[in-house]
């Protein structure tokens, strides 16, 4: 498949859904739409049909910039042996959620 832009194709959007008030928006997938309004309506139809949604964010996929797989070692491995960065040296109070 060619990566060249076809003028008759709608651009790709990434969709983020908040399932409950207070929680963060989670990436759920992508879809095609001509503009933001259509993207939100399509997201409503494609990703919230079973009551998953409380709020929808969409962003043009071309506006997302990702780290490169070949950077994985330099980016993430050094954190592996630094346990003192993890907040595991105290007791969590009962009833605390979403941490």
């Amino acid at each position: 498949m060619s990566n060249e832009k076809n003028e008759t194709d709608f651009p790709l959007w990434e969709v983020f859904i908040q399932s409950k008030r207070g929680l963060d928006h989670k990436h759920v997938g992508s879809l095609h739409a001509a503009d933001a309004r259509m993207a939100i309506e399509n997201a409503r139809d494609v990703y919230t049909r079973r009551g998953e949604g409380n709020s929808i964010w969409v962003v043009l996929a071309e506006h997302l910039h990702a780290s490169r797989p070949e950077d994985q070692g330099a980016f993430f491995d050094p954190a592996d042996d630094k346990v003192y960065r993890h907040p595991t040296f105290y007791v969590m109070p009962e009833g605390v959620k979403h941490i």
Partner: protein
């Protein structure tokens, strides 16, 4: 006409409108112009099917002869269907489907809104659930009509042709039959003239935004409300009713 007979025919019509249009929209499933639109139309079709189930179940109870929603949906002939002709017309191209949905949704939403205030509590309850769905349906069809009308030369031409071709089927929406007149007088059904006023306002606003021209009111098709349909309904029912007709009593 007796009140119960009028209520039966009117509730049956509400169910038939949703059932028949829902089936038409379901014909896009797997054939939509775009994956996202394919899913949107299937969603809307399912909303309409859900409304049809509620109305047909209630119609069966009013009639009191033990007919279920399935009996009413699957075991009536086309002369016994009371939906408006607008609902049964073939799906056509996508502009045609959108234009038909828009003309229907602009009628359906204010009708369901008004029905939520009906003294008939069952009717008000069913309409209450339908209002949210109808709100989205109108939003969806309006959006697309504006995109087509105010889009390319080709999409504008097709959208205008669809509106022109469908216009003569809009009069029936607001022409009450005897059953509806009985219920309007009894205050159970809203006056269709007040629904027409809201429809006119919505149509004027959206057509203007879509740069489409409102056709002149000419001759209007009638008859669907009396069971006199276009030749298209029989083919639709042949598909819709095939399974229970071929395998009576089938469970699935």
């Amino acid at each position: 006409m007796e009140r119960s007979e009028a209520l039966f025919r009117t509730v049956l019509r509400l169910g038939d409108n949703s059932l028949v249009l829902g089936h038409r929209l379901s014909e896009w499933c797997g054939h939509g112009p775009q994956l996202e639109e394919d899913i949107a139309q299937a969603n809307i079709a399912l909303d309409l099917l859900g409304q049809a189930r509620n109305y047909l179940t209630y119609a069966g109870e009013i009639e009191g002869k033990g007919r279920t929603e399935d009996d009413l949906a699957y075991l009536r002939t086309e002369r016994q269907f009371l939906n408006v002709k607008l609902a049964e017309l073939p799906k056509g191209d996508y502009a045609h489907t959108i234009a038909r949905s828009f003309l229907f949704d602009a009628f359906h939403l204010p009708l369901q809104q008004a029905l939520t205030k009906s003294p008939d509590e069952r009717l008000a309850g069913i309409a209450g659930k339908a209002v949210k769905e109808a709100t989205y349906h109108l939003r969806h069809s309006s959006e697309w009509l504006v995109r087509f009308g105010d889009g390319t030369e080709e999409s504008h031409r097709r959208a205008q042709a669809a509106i022109d071709g469908l216009w003569m089927y809009t009069g029936e929406l607001f022409a009450p039959d005897e059953a509806e007149r009985t219920l309007i007088e009894a205050g159970i059904l809203p006056d269709l003239a007040s629904i027409k006023a809201e429809w006119d306002a919505t149509v004027a606003r959206v057509l203007a935004e879509a740069t489409l021209v409102r056709p002149a009111d000419g001759w209007m098709a009638r008859g669907g409300k009396d069971g006199q349909h276009t030749e298209h309904l029989g083919f639709l029912l042949a598909e819709l009713q095939y399974l229970p007709r071929a395998f009576p009593g089938a469970q699935w």
